[in-house]
C-alpha cells in the first residue's frame, strides 16, 4: 500500500462512520454502469463494460476442436483474464498474475454454475465441438473487476453468434444464429473496510479493504461465492450480503437485457 493509499484509507473509514463514501453513493449502491456490445468486429461476441471508471472488455472467440475424452458429447467454455499494464500503474507485463487467474476463474465458475451455456448444445459431431473462449481484458482499473467482468462476459455471450461449420471450415455469415444462453447470472462484490461493508468498491476503497466477497446469483439460488484477501467474515456478514446480492439481481439483469434489445 502506498502512503497515498494509507492517507486515503483513513479518510474513507471516517466517511464510512457516517455512512458516506468518496462519491455521493449509498453503501449498497453500484456506480454508473454502461455496456456496449459488438465492439470487436473479428470476435464472435464482445462487450465493453464501464463500471464507474473501471473499464473491461470481453471478447468471445468460437473455435472448433476435438472434444475432451472425458466429455465426448460436450463443447468447452473457458474464461481467461489479463490485467493489462495500461490499466493501472500497479500492473506489470508478464504471464497472468494470481489476481488475473483468480478473476478469470471466479467469473468462469459463476457462469458455469449458473448453467448459462449448455455445453451439450455446443457439440457438432463425434469429432467436433465448439469451444467458447472468452478473454477478459482489463483496460482501466478503478476497483471491482469481478462485477465488471461478470457483466462483460454475460453481455458478450448474450450477443454472440455461432458461425457455421461446413467442410471443416468456419464460415461467418449474416444469418449466423445467436449463441444460446439459457440463464442470466449477476454478481455483487462487497468489501470490508474496518467493520463496515460496502458494495462495488472503487480503486481507493479496494486499497483500504481487508476482505472482499463476491456473490453470484441467478435470482433464486446462490450460484458462486469467492472470498478474497486476508480479512475475516462472520456468518452474519455473509447472510446479510447474500440478501443484498439477491436484491440487486433484477436491476443488473435489466442492464444486460437492455443491450440485447438494441
Amino acid at each position: 500500500m502506498s502512503s497515498m493509499d494509507l492517507i486515503r484509507s483513513g479518510y474513507i473509514k471516517e466517511l464510512l462512520e457516517n455512512g458516506k463514501r468518496l462519491e455521493p453513493r449509498g453503501i449498497n449502491e453500484f456506480r454508473q454502469i454502461a455496456i456496449k456490445c459488438n465492439v470487436l468486429g473479428n470476435a464472435e461476441g464482445s462487450a465493453q463494460v464501464d463500471l464507474g471508471n473501471t473499464r473491461v472488455l470481453a471478447g468471445v472467440k468460437m473455435v472448433v476442436e476435438e472434444p475432451h475424452s472425458d466429455t465426448p458429447d460436450e463443447g468447452n467454455f473457458i474464461v481467461s483474464a489479463e490485467l493489462l499494464p495500461i490499466a493501472s500503474a500497479e500492473y506489470e507485463t508478464g504471464p497472468p498474475s494470481p489476481s488475473a487467474i483468480e478473476l478469470a476463474r471466479v467469473v468462469d465458475r459463476g457462469i458455469r454454475a449458473g448453467n448459462c451455456i449448455d455445453l451439450k448444445n455446443l457439440s457438432i459431431d463425434k469429432e467436433h465441438v465448439w469451444s467458447v473462449y472468452v478473454d477478459l481484458y482489463v483496460l482501466n482499473y478503478d476497483g471491482n473487476l469481478f462485477d465488471a467482468g461478470t457483466l462483460a462476459v454475460m453481455s458478450a455471450l448474450a450477443t454472440s453468434k455461432i458461425p457455421k461449420f461446413e467442410n471443416e471450415e468456419i464460415k461467418h455469415t449474416e444469418s449466423d444464429e445467436p449463441l444460446r444462453v439459457d440463464n442470466t447470472i449477476t454478481s455483487t462484490t462487497f468489501c470490508k473496510i474496518g467493520n463496515k461493508i460496502v458494495l462495488d468498491p472503487n480503486g481507493a476503497e479496494e486499497a483500504a479493504m481487508s476482505t472482499r466477497l463476491t456473490i453470484t446469483t441467478d435470482g433464486s439460488c446462490i450460484r458462486a461465492m469467492q472470498k478474497g484477501l486476508s480479512g475475516s467474515l462472520s456468518i452474519e456478514d455473509i447472510n446479510n450480503l447474500v440478501e443484498i446480492s439477491f436484491s440487486k439481481y433484477d436491476e443488473l439483469k435489466k442492464q444486460i437485457q437492455s443491450v440485447l434489445n438494441r
Binding site: 472425458d70 458429447d73 476463474r105 454454475a113 446462490i222 475475516s232 462472520s234 447472510n239 440478501e243
Partner: protein, 242 residues
C-alpha cells in the same frame, strides 16, 4: 464434469463409502515429520495424503518484496504428478493451483501474527501426494499444524472442510466422486475461536436455507477436526521417561 454417466451417490440414505451425511472421513495427522523444515505435518484424510511444511521466518527473496514492518507470507499448493488416479499430471503450477495457493496464503496472512517477524518471509508449502477430493481443505488443516509445530506465533489453529449438496441432501467432506458430481461444493476455512470465516469458495447452487445449514454442518465437523489437530501437536510432547 459430464453428467451423462452420473453415478448414484446416495443409496439407501448412505453415501458411496458408507458414511452418513454429516460424517467426516477418517483423519490422521502427524506433526513435526520433516527434519529440515521449521515446522511440518503429514495428514491422511480419507484417501488424501498431504504433506505441509513451513520455512521461516527467514530472509525475503527477492529483496525488493521485503516489508520492514511485518513478515510476508508465500504459499505454494501443488499436486504431485502421481497424485491423481486417472492421469499423470505435469509438474509445475497450473491456473487452479495458482488460485488455490493464493486463497490459502490469504488464510494464513490472517492468523500469523505478522508484526512479530518484520522484514522476513514465511513460506508455506502444501504438497498433495494423493488426492481424493477436498485437497485444499486438507492442505489448510495440515499447514495450520505445521505452523504451530514451527512455533510461529498464530492467533488460532484454523481448520478447513467442505460442505456439498447432492440432490436434496447436504453432505460434509465430499470425496472426489461426490465433489465432481455434486450440485454444490463449498470449501470453508474457519478460525474456531470466534467462528470467523477465512476462506470461502462455492460453486453450484445453494438456497439461503441450505447455505445456513451447510455452515452449521461445517462448524460441527470443525470441532472434531480441531481435536485431531490438537492431539497431533500434544503428541510431540508426550512424557518420555526411560
Amino acid at each position: 464434469m459430464s453428467h451423462a454417466n452420473k453415478p448414484e451417490l446416495i443409496i439407501n440414505g448412505k453415501r458411496t463409502d458408507g458414511r452418513d451425511f454429516n460424517e467426516l472421513r477418517q483423519l490422521k495427522i502427524e506433526a513435526g515429520i520433516l527434519k529440515n523444515a521449521a515446522g511440518s505435518a503429514y495428514l491422511e484424510w480419507g484417501n488424501n495424503k498431504v504433506l505441509a511444511a513451513v520455512y521461516g521466518p527467514r530472509e525475503v527473496v527477492p529483496k525488493h518484496l521485503t516489508d520492514s514492518t511485518k513478515a510476508i507470507v508465500k504459499c505454494r499448493y501443488s499436486m504431485a504428478p502421481f497424485s491423481s488416479l486417472s492421469e499423470h499430471g505435469r509438474s509445475g503450477p497450473n491456473r487452479r493451483a495458482t488460485e488455490i495457493s493464493k486463497v490459502i496464503k490469504e488464510v494464513f496472512e490472517n492468523v500469523i501474527i505478522l508484526n512479530d517477524y518484520p522484514g522476513s518471509e514465511i513460506d508455506i508449502f502444501i504438497e498433495i501426494l494423493q488426492g481424493d477430493g477436498g485437497t485444499r481443505t486438507a492442505g489448510i488443516t495440515a499447514a495450520a499444524v505445521a505452523l504451530a509445530s514451527a512455533g510461529i506465533a498464530i492467533r488460532d489453529l484454523v481448520y478447513a472442510v467442505s460442505a456439498a449438496k447432492i440432490g436434496e441432501n447436504l453432505v460434509i467432506d465430499p470425496h472426489m466422486l461426490e465433489d465432481n458430481y455434486s450440485d454444490a461444493d463449498m470449501p470453508v476455512a474457519v478460525s474456531p475461536k470466534n467462528k470467523e470465516i477465512l476462506l470461502l469458495q462455492m460453486d453450484g447452487g445453494y438456497t439461503r436455507e441450505e447455505l445456513k445449514k451447510a455452515f452449521e454442518m461445517i462448524f460441527t465437523a470443525g470441532e472434531k477436526i480441531t481435536e485431531v489437530q490438537k492431539d497431533s501437536i500434544r503428541k510431540l510432547y508426550e512424557s518420555v521417561s526411560k
